[in-house]
Symmetry: C2
Subunit: 128 residues, 2 copies
Amino acid sequence: MTEKNASPERISDAEHAVMEALWQRAPLTAQEVAEAVAPNRDWSVQTVKTLLSRLLAKNIIAHQEDGRRYLYRPLVAREDYVTGESRRLVDRLFGGRVMPLVAHLAESDQLSPQDIAEIEALLKELKS
Amino acid sequence: MTEKNASPERISDAEHAVMEALWQRAPLTAQEVAEAVAPNRDWSVQTVKTLLSRLLAKNIIAHQEDGRRYLYRPLVAREDYVTGESRRLVDRLFGGRVMPLVAHLAESDQLSPQDIAEIEALLKELKS
DNA sequence: GTGTTTCGATTACATCTGTAGTCGAAGCAG
DNA sequence: CTGCTTCGACTACAGATGTAATCGAAACAC
């Protein structure tokens, strides 16, 4: 039974920043990841390497040798991560129902008229 | 300048369970909170007390004496907490735009036809 | 070929989090 | 009064997280 790998391991906030870099473009060396996240987080290369190690240990990324260094790439699709996190939020705060989330966004003034128009268009399309 | 208190302190997962109890009904004693969360979390009363202390320290709840014990109550409205968490998610995963969130929910099959109908109705109302 | 740079691996260390246990004071049972 | 219970305060302790520093091996500079 080949490694059950649902990888339910959580991705921490710092690790997430690294993942975004890899989702954007992969494979990357540690150095390249560091450069990619630099605009957002002021991390030393060491820090980025630590985060990469932890992601490796959690089986969320993989690496392959490239001469003396490694090239890292995601094992988890951003899509799946986003779905999981969204569901977590909806479950924790809205009893698992999406409707209250949207209602909340609307009421808390986080929906511009443009958002509203776009969402309506989207929903219309979904029904077809 | 009286205590700037935006309380940007994060609420951890375990602490959140306690908050839900207090948002549901307050003020409560530690004992009562423990009973309220019991169905969801199998915690000793001590654990609940620790969480209450931490929330107090973070200025997220307050307590008032009631004889020999304390009565605890939220200082942060659930509404505000929910808004903050929602915004965090939208910022982290959808570039701050709500539209992609909704699109994602739709595509990842988390929207039932009923949800869609309800959301449309809601949006319609928002425009009026 | 020797010093310097660079890599990954290992170690470090403070804080936060989850989950209690212990302790001294106060109150209750009798 | 005297022991049992209950409270809040303080302490504990392992694992996760943020943020690196150090170390030995390999590669590069000359």
